[in-house]
């Protein structure tokens, strides 16, 4: 059965087309659940509401997860609470953004 680590690793392949950094390093993933039947649920947020690019990011996450061998289905729920803050950025993202 697929693990959370494998799911997160897979999601690192989903890149925000505007920022150029993957959604895991951006700190957009809030929670990952894996059912016994191999259905993956992802609770994620976006850096700001009302960004026109973000639906595509969520679509990319769903499609990327569905391509994993051990994943039967994938659901992505976009939530706004708690709101995303820059503290959620990984060290790698901060370096890429020029913050560190």
């Amino acid at each position: 059965m697929v693990t959370k680590e494998e799911v997160m690793s897979c999601l690192e392949g989903v890149v925000d087309p505007e920022i150029g950094i993957n959604i895991v390093d951006l700190g957009l993933i809030y929670d990952v659940t894996i059912d016994d039947d191999g259905t993956v649920g992802v609770k994620m947020t976006l850096t700001t509401p009302g960004c026109p690019m973000h639906e595509q990011i969520a679509f990319a996450a769903v499609r990327t997860l569905r391509r994993m061998d051990e994943v039967r289905d994938a659901n992505v729920e976009v939530v706004w609470e708690p709101p995303w803050t820059p503290e959620r950025l990984s060290s790698r993202a901060k370096v890429l953004l020029g913050f560190l």
Binding site: V14, P17, M53, A60, V78
Partner: protein
Amino acid sequence: MMQGQLSTSMASPFRVVVPYFIAAIASWVVLNLALAMIAPEIRGHYFQPHLLALTHTATLLWIGMTIMGAMYQLVPVVLEVPLYSKRLPVWAFWIYLIGASGMVVHFWSYAMKTGFVVSAFLVFVAFGLFIINISLTMRRVRAWNLTGLCLLSSLVYLFLAASLGLVLGVNLNHFFIRVDHIQHLKVHAHLAFAGWVTMVIMGAVYKLIPMFTLSHGTSTKPGIFAFVALHIGVIGLTVELLFGGGRGPLLGVYAGVMTAGIGAFLVQVALILKYRMRKAFDIGMKHALVSFIALIPTVLLGDLFAIGGTGKTELDERFVLAYGFLIIFAYISFLIVGQMYKIVPFLVWFHKYSDKVGLEPVPLLREMFSERTGEVQFILMVAATVSTLGGLLIGQQGWIIAGVWGLSIAAVIFAYNMYTVFRK
């Protein structure tokens, strides 16, 4: 299955908004090339046929097309409401293109007869369709924010500026009201630039700059102050220019309020940039920074005219031309060109690649055009703007000619870069 409410589902279709941006980019090239052609004429009083024609090429075809395209795109996404009508913008585009082009052609030859009136009426109708569509779209908004209020306010100023422009245009050769045309022309320009365009810019900047720079947690108090002060300043100056003869002390007071509002807007921008996580400025942000900096001399020159100018006619005429150039080319156009580097790649990317995300590799937005070409265009545009502005201020025709030709080359490079986005 994907869940959750996402703003992109509100986005306007590609075919609705793209024609506005294509027309705007083409107009930008035409505007700069035409300005270079008439460079020796850029002197004296601004009320000249060719300068009026080019001013309306800038305001209607370059700035107006961009703003309408951007608002058809931005309003549904930012305020999370679907566009009321997706068919109206398609009709409005052609009505507007024909009308605005007709106005420019008639201004150029100063043939202000029936053809001009029909053209002006078409522009007014197209603006009306735009205002009605956006207003009915906004009627469904449940959660208002500062961006939404700015964009809503801009519609009121657009209506007033367009109405006054139509009346003045018709009255030039079909006298039906006795008015001081030059004085009312100032009100028309004031409502258009300080009211309509600046409200749109403020609203867009408050939303887009934090989004592009990943800036969070910024106080919006300066932005709210700027919004209120700009309204007081624009309305006060309009009333004073129309009914106070345009010479009273209140003119200076309202200009001061407007200056405070613009100052607060710049403080808001500085705060957004201070708290940004994305430290490096990309090509879009570099253009925006020049626009913000250009606001300072623009406002100072405006204040100078509000307190009576320099008292020397020849100097005032030069400064008025410099003022107009600063507003159109430095403040507004740098921001538009910069945001085009964001909006156009997004629109094309969304159209061509949104079905492919997660299935195959797709380019980043910045890979949709050549950043290096953009840098060359940016540097040339800055140098050319400084040269033209310097030439206008000190009355050096050589600097002006060099500057406007530099702007033309920069405009062609920019248009080529945008063309490559569509070819990607």
